[in-house]
Every structure is written in structure tokens, then in C-alpha cells.
Symmetry: C2
Subunit: 364 residues, 2 copies
């Protein structure tokens, strides 16, 4: 058990945005929401998963929708209470803890804000260890845990409770409502017991985000390594490409951000080209015509100077970025995991090959 | 209090399909569902509205979606129980009676089936006195009654509860889910007290449907009048046009059936032309270039021989029909009523003029 205050939020937002793999929303927006809540209501208690009782009721809090829209719509304060009440009344019991469902600039932050506002502890766990675009894409689906009852509310005060036969159906129906509500909403889904959370969750993800954020913040403070070396060694990342953004193709469709970013090589990659395709999150990285990384491994773009993550929303012509691959949570590499989030699910006709195997000769 | 058995269902289905004003679905499909239920579980008790206690909990049962889809999807038996359980659990009390929300071939029948299957009385009332395409279009909206909590379930077993800030928002969100569920779903909305039902409902609509159905069934049994005279005098209808269907333009869009039927005059209207535009229900009737009736008055097409109503789904080239106008429930003619269901709401740029005023000189 420890406490999350302003500095921790700063670092968690940065690190979670990196783990967002291009998605998960703008960490600046997320950070402000969490900081506001902590300034108003005091710091948040972060529980280690093993500190949570097996029969506790734990619920994730998140936003659903196209990250591009998140920044344009106000995030109200009363949504957390509404979600709490909907789920608590459904089960007829109090909620013991909140948790994030994914790592990302916004969805790592909202549960902190909710915990601060409602005085409920947060658990150091999530269901992805990164961000993914669709709601059935969580380790809990592999564990057979239902996304429903799922509570959804918008900033206007509309609310919906879903009960579905599969988590893919939850995605279908909740996505339709999200679009009708203007493209982004607040949700609580995968209500679960402490035992389920401990069995299938990605443990320690909040702490990992914070450590990554600290490392980025202090990347230039090391005398023995260059900032890039330090960044790569700290993240355990594979350097895929270094380039300047030459083109960004982007489209908001069905409450998702689809697109592709094209890079012209700089530095040691001068003369080369690469592109990264995304659906909210980065899906594939292709360097000089060859696929070098695919989902579910994390493909992250970071600024070549500051190593701050660049989300798919923030891609801009001329920006100089390093494309980095990070190995995903091991459960995603199982057949059940790849069925949910492997390249073919996203329409990319290629087998998943782990980063470690693609870069057997060295880290790029 | 009286009982609804097989013969009553036959007549109610026919009369309600007439009041469906082109919409409300195929009375044959609806009839089979209701008859099956009554054959399996026995007749239904029909209560006069005034027999219902003021503090009773009364809920409408209906299908939502494009009527064209209803006939193609199976209507399961377990949806009524699911809806009952959802609403009953929400309020923490038993449900005292079901009611239809609109008159129409399907939506007059499903509440009968639900009442039979669950052994719960049906009330002789609805919220339209006809059919309309969108769910906020009920007298209860004028009375300030919320459509929510609204329960929705599909034949696969997905279910959703909505709570919205306005009834128009209920329509938006429930329509989005209906489309995602394949275009038609079972719903319960506008849960209300007996007092509310009595204050704003269209009373006696089941009985009126039954009487209209009887009249159509026996339209040729009268020695003193021609079948057409008898049909018009019994329904109180205005004869707008008699013609042969020359063209049908039809499109399913956003879970609605949109379209237009073009008629070439026959008999006394020989040489003339007319067209009727619809969104599930008929919206306008234009005869020889002049609008002769608009929503919210009922525009009904009936077979020239049998006087059986022809729904917008059943429009076919060459069919000979009589276009009849019936005055709507008086509440629809108030400013609040016309705002909800007047011609301008449907994008028809014309003032509403009551049938009686258009035909001051005589009934056409």
C-alpha cells in the first residue's frame, strides 16, 4: 500500500502514455483530470493486488470512444459517482476498490480521479498491460470473465447498463451507444472479485507506468549512457526505426481513430522509410518494406529528444520520432490471446512473431 | 374486465393493423405469436383502465425496429420473462399489468402474448391510438412521463437498461442498440403508475381495434350498404383516393423503413394520381398534386375488395387499394402533440390541417 499524489500522477501519466502504444488518449488531458481530483480531495491509496480480499468487489473505471474526441468533450465530475451507484445498486453491495482497465494517457488517469473523488482505493493492476481499441481485448476475457454488467454514462446524464452473452457483444452494443452519445463516454465494466483480479490481471502496471515515467523525466541525468541508450535499456525496448514524420493519414470511423503514419529515416536510418498503421493503438511497424513488429507487442513512437511518447492523435508532419517495440504481457502470446488481439483480428494478414524472435541478432 | 381468446385476437390484429396507419408490422406475424401463447397458456384478462389501481405498476411491452425485419427474425418466448424480470428487479416490486404502447399488427399482439405467457392482465389502453416510428412519440411524453428505465432484450439473450435525460435520448440510444442487435428487439419502456396510465393513455384502444376488425371481417354482411360505404361509416374514415399501386420506393435506413408508394387512379379516381410517403407509418397523402392528409391523422391503405389493411411492408405493384384518412387522438392536435409528431418533425414542410377541416365540404 502506498499513496499517489501530484508527482506520482505526472510520472504515471507519462509512463502509461508510453504503454498506450499510440492509443489511450492524451496524457495531458488525463493528467489534469487526475491532478484536479487529488488537489480537491487528497491523495489516493494504491493497493498491491495481493492486499485485496478474494471476495472484494473491484471495478475498472474508464472512458470509451475515439481518443481524439476525449479532449474535445468536457469530462464531468459526477460520472464516477453515477457509475459507482449503478454497479453498487446492481450487486446490492458496496464497491471495495477501483482499477484501470488499460494503460494509457487517459485511462490510467481516470481511475485515479475516481478514487480520489470517491475516497476508494485503487489497485495496482489492469487488464491489458498496454492499450487496445476494443473492450473485449482484456486478459479477463481469456479468463472467461464477463464484461457485464457494464455501466455507461455520458456527461449529459444518460446512463445504460448492459448484460450480454459475450464480451464481443458488449463491445458491439456499447460502441453503438458511445457513438450516439457523441463519441466518448465513461464506463465501468468487468466488475470482478478480488480473486479474479489477482488471477488474470496484469499486476503492478501502475507502478511500472510510474517507473517508466520517472525514467523518461530523468533520461538526460545519466552520465554513463546517452539518453537514447538509457531510454532503451530502461524500457527494455527494441529500436525499430528513427525518422521524421512525412505523412499522416487519419480517419475517425465507428468511434475509432484509424490511420497510418509514414516516416523518412533520419540519423542511422537515413535513406530508409517506414510506416506504422493504427486503430487507436499502433498495430504494425513496417521498415523498408518489411514488417518488424505487430500487435500484441507494443509499438511506441517517442520524441527523439525528450523520449516523451507521441500518441496517434498527436502525430504531426515533421516531428522526429523513435519507433520502439516493447514485448507484450505473456498471456497475449497464447493462442487465446492472439485470437483476441493478434494481427489477423485487425485485418493484417501476417503471423504474429514475437519481437525477441524478430530481433534475435540484436536489439536493432 | 373481459377475456381475450382466439377470435378476439383475430379481430384485434386486423383492426390494430388498420390503426397502424401502414406501420406496426405484419398482423399475420403478430397474430400467430399471440395465438400460440393463448393456445398454450389460456386466454388473457383484459382490464378496463379504470379497473387498475392508481398505485399499480403497469408496463408496456413492444418490439422496436424496422417492421420489415420482424418477420425475418424469430420472436422467442423468453423475452417477456426477461423484460419482466429486468423491470421488476429495477423497481423492487411486482408488475401488475402489461399494456400495448401502440396500435399495430405486431405491437398490439405482443402484449397479449406476454400477458398469456406470464399470467398477467392486459390493460385496454395504449400511448398513441395508432402507430408512430419513434419511441418518444407517445401521449406519455406530452404528460412528462419518462420512457426510462427502459428494458431491451434480443432473441440471443443480450439485454440493456437505459436511463436517459429525455425520451428523445432514449430513442437515440435504444435505436442504436436495436440496429446493432440486427434491426429488431423486444422492449419495455414507459413503466408507469395506474394513475399516469389513466391520465394520459388512449383508453379503450384494444376494444376499438377489435370492433374495427369485426367490421372488416363482416364488411360484406350488410344488406343496406355497399362494403365500401359500410367500411367508411364504421371507421369514420375519409376517402382520400382509390388507385392501383404503380410504384413502390423503399429503403431500410437507420432501423426504419422509409419510402413512397405511387398510385394510379381507378374507378371514380380514374385519370388521377396520388402518392403516400412513409417512415414505417404513412406520413402524407398527396392527391393530384395536393396534400390531402398528414400525420398525425391516420393515413391507411386498405384492399379495395376485402378492406384488409395493407402495411407499408406489404405494398406491391398492381395491388388495388383505397386510401383512407382517420382523425387522430385529440392530444396529438395540441401544440405539444404536433411538435412530437406533426409533419414538420418528419421533414415535411407543411402545416398540419385536421382531416375534418380539409374535407369540410364532405367526406371525399
Amino acid at each position: 500500500m502506498r499513496t499517489i499524489g501530484i508527482q506520482e500522477i505526472e510520472d504515471i501519466a507519462m509512463g502509461a502514455a508510453l504503454l498506450g502504444a499510440g492509443g489511450g488518449g492524451d496524457p495531458y488531458v488525463g493528467k489534469l483530470v487526475a491532478m484536479d481530483a487529488v488537489q480537491a480531495c487528497g491523495p489516493v491509496t494504491l493497493l498491491d493486488p495481493d492486499e485485496v480480499a478474494d471476495d472484494a468487489l473491484v471495478i475498472p473505471i474508464a472512458m470509451m470512444g475515439a481518443p481524439t474526441v476525449l479532449g474535445e468533450k468536457a469530462i464531468g465530475g459526477k460520472e464516477y459517482q453515477t457509475l459507482y451507484d449503478m454497479v453498487s445498486q446492481y450487486f446490492g453491495k458496496k464497491i471495495d476498490a477501483f482499477m484501470p482497465i488499460e494503460a494509457g494517457g487517459v485511462n490510467s488517469m481516470l481511475p485515479i480521479a475516481a478514487s480520489a473523488r470517491l475516497g476508494i482505493p485503487l489497485v495496482d493492476v489492469d487488464g491489458m498491460g498496454r492499450a487496445f481499441p476494443e473492450l473485449q481485448m482484456v486478459t479477463f476475457t481469456i479468463g472467461g470473465i464477463s464484461a457485464t454488467p457494464m455501466a455507461l454514462t455520458d456527461e449529459k446524464g444518460n446512463s445504460v447498463i448492459f448484460n450480454t452473452i459475450t464480451n464481443k457483444w458488449t463491445e458491439e452494443l456499447a460502441r453503438a451507444v458511445t457513438m450516439s452519445c457523441g463519441g466518448s463516454v465513461s464506463v465501468s465494466l468487468y466488475p470482478m472479485s478480488g480473486a479474479q483480479m489477482k488471477q488474470y490481471g496484469v499486476k503492478g502496471i501502475v507502478t511500472r507506468s510510474q517507473r517508466l515515467g520517472e525514467a523518461i523525466r530523468t533520461v538526460k541525468d545519466c552520465a554513463d549512457q546517452s539518453p537514447e541508450e538509457r531510454f532503451l535499456s530502461f524500457t527494455g525496448g527494441y529500436k525499430l526505426f528513427k525518422g521524421k514524420i512525412a505523412d499522416v493519414l487519419r480517419e475517425t470511423r465507428g468511434a475509432f481513430n484509424f490511420g497510418k503514419v509514414v516516416l523518412e529515416g533520419i540519423g542511422e536510418d537515413k535513406g530508409g522509410t517506414a510506416f506504422v498503421e493504427f486503430q487507436n493503438e499502433n498495430l504494425t511497424a513496417t521498415v523498408n518494406g518489411e514488417i518488424r513488429a505487430t500487435t500484441p507487442d507494443l509499438i511506441c513512437l517517442v520524441d527523439v529528444e525528450t523520449f516523451a511518447p507521441v500518441t496517434t492523435d498527436a502525430l504531426k508532419y515533421g516531428k522526429r520520432v523513435l519507433v520502439v517495440g516493447l514485448p507484450c504481457f505473456p498471456l497475449w502470446r497464447t493462442p487465446a490471446g492472439l485470437e483476441l488481439v493478434g494481427p489477423r483480428y485487425f485485418g493484417v494478414d501476417t503471423d504474429y512473431i514475437p519481437l525477441e524472435e524478430r530481433y534475435k541478432g540484436g536489439k536493432g
